[in-house]
């Protein structure tokens, strides 16, 4: 019964996807202008062509490595700062306006500003870091503050203190909040990082290819690179999400 339900769900999803691809193809045929709109078949053909080149994979790898480094930096510093803020009210008060500003200021403003301070090569690292930091910080702070006081009382009675309390009580309470933050921050960092590359134009990156496609009115390339960005984003989200879930399950199942 459950298997049948799952098959039906996937069937419906495939039909919906096929419907919109058909609409896209029909509109492209009706417009009949490669500069304005290209159909999905042509985009797919261009993507396959690009995927056969070393430059494509080098560009994806460069963008992924830089944005990934920024995201990791943002996640780690978010956790560390959240732990400090939860322990010391002064840190929390000091960081509140900084985190508020990081969330409120438009990405484009940050990109232009940061470009004045760092080389275009490091721009996407900083932007991905700026995107991930406030999300991870806010969620981990929330997880720590939501830790059941009854559990902390229990830990107190059993003499569980310091790092043991963090490892055994806080960690198990905060992990679901961290997992949600990673999921959200990863997508945002990736998209903002690519946007930063489009403005900063570091060599051999996805952003540079997007910019070139725009300058040369190469719409098939623009669509193909956009599809590549979406595919990498979905794959990254699935790999990291499944990896985290598996680690979480292993941690929960330990004797």
């Amino acid at each position: 019964m459950r298997e049948g339900g799952r098959l039906r769900t996937w069937g419906v999803r495939l039909l919906v996807a096929a419907f919109w691809l058909a609409v896209w193809q029909l509109v492209a045929c009706a417009v009949d202008s490669r500069i304005i709109l290209v159909g999905p078949l042509e985009v797919l053909a261009r993507l396959v062509e690009l995927a056969g080149t070393g430059e494509f994979w080098a560009s994806v790898a460069t963008s992924l490595a830089r944005i990934g480094a920024g995201f990791l930096g943002g996640a780690v510093s978010g956790v560390v700062l959240a732990a400090a803020a939860s322990r010391l009210a002064a840190v929390r008060e000091l960081l509140a306006p900084v985190m508020g500003a990081l969330k409120a200021v438009p990405v484009a403003s940050f990109v232009i500003l940061v470009l004045l301070w760092v080389s275009s090569r490091d721009l996407s690292v900083v932007i991905a870091w700026i995107m991930a930091l406030p999300i991870v910080y806010t969620n981990v702070c929330e997880g720590i503050s939501q830790t059941d006081p009854a559990l902390l009382e229990m830990a107190e009675v059993f003499g569980l203190r310091g790092l043991d309390r963090v490892r055994l009580v806080y960690l198990s309470q905060v992990l679901p909040y961290f997992r949600a933050a990673v999921s959200l921050a990863l997508g945002l960092s990736w998209k903002a990082g690519i946007a930063a590359e489009v403005i900063g134009l570091p060599d051999l990156t996805i952003g540079e290819h997007l910019y070139d496609a725009k300058v040369y009115l190469d719409t098939p390339d623009l669509f193909a690179w956009t599809v590549a960005i979406v595919v990498v984003s979905v794959a990254l989200s699935a790999v990291v999400g499944k990896g985290l879930d598996a680690a979480l399950r292993r941690w929960e199942a330990r004797p």
Binding site: E153, M154, V157, F158, D164, V169, S172, E252, A253, P255
Partner: protein, 207 residues
């Protein structure tokens, strides 16, 4: 203040307008089981929380042996929902490593089997209420503690399960001070040579 006994000296405790304890005085011999009985709302749980150091008296004094290590089964289970039964029971033994950890794990598994609980990789959130209760009792009974505090641990448990649980935990009480809060006077017969106490009208008396 350090001492070799647990003692309440004219302890008063209020919650707003409600006076729960009004001059409770008692001296609890160590290495004995003490059964605290009384009607609902008499202040038994408050008394246990004072002895555990979780609350402070409004007046009077609570004296505990210096450096005493405690274990406690609360009215609620207070388990870490996403950890296994063995990880929860081992919580007070956070520093165990290597062979010591393996030896304790074997003790945990034997205790779980003895009280009729499965030994598996499920987090305790997937266990029934009764099973979770037994995990909370074992966490307390197996703690490396000098005094064990139980707040209505057997509430809602059927007789057969009670017998299995007590067969498993009573031998672990040897040489420890046990405070056992209950509504049910029959429970004092389950403990070895207990000192019965009645908590009523904000005071505590030998029963």
């Amino acid at each position: 203040m350090s001492a070799a006994v647990f003692e309440l000296r004219a302890v008063e405790k209020r919650y707003g307008a409600l006076a729960v304890l009004a001059g409770a005085t008692a001296r609890f011999e160590v290495c004995r089981a003490h059964v605290l009985m009384g009607p609902s709302g008499a202040g038994k749980t408050t008394l246990l929380h004072l002895l555990a150091g979780l609350e402070s008296p409004d007046a009077g004094e609570v004296v505990r042996p210096a450096g005493v290590r405690l274990g406690m089964t609360f009215q609620e289970d207070r388990l870490l929902d996403n950890l296994t039964a063995t990880a929860n029971i081992r919580l007070p033994h956070a520093r165990l490593r290597g062979a010591e950890r393996e030896a304790f794990l074997a003790r945990e598994r034997a205790a779980l089997a003895a009280v009729g609980l499965p030994v598996d990789a499920r987090p305790v959130r997937e266990l029934s209420g009764g099973q979770r209760r037994r995990v909370a009792i074992l966490r307390c009974a197996l703690a490396d503690a000098d005094a064990l505090l139980f707040d209505e641990p057997l509430k809602g448990m059927d007789e057969k399960t009670v017998a299995r649980v007590m067969d498993c935990v009573v031998p672990l009480f040897s040489g420890k001070t046990v405070f056992w809060v209950t509504h049910d006077e029959r429970e004092k017969d389950l403990l070895p040579d207990p000192v019965p106490w009645t908590v009523r009208d904000g005071l505590i008396f030998p029963a």
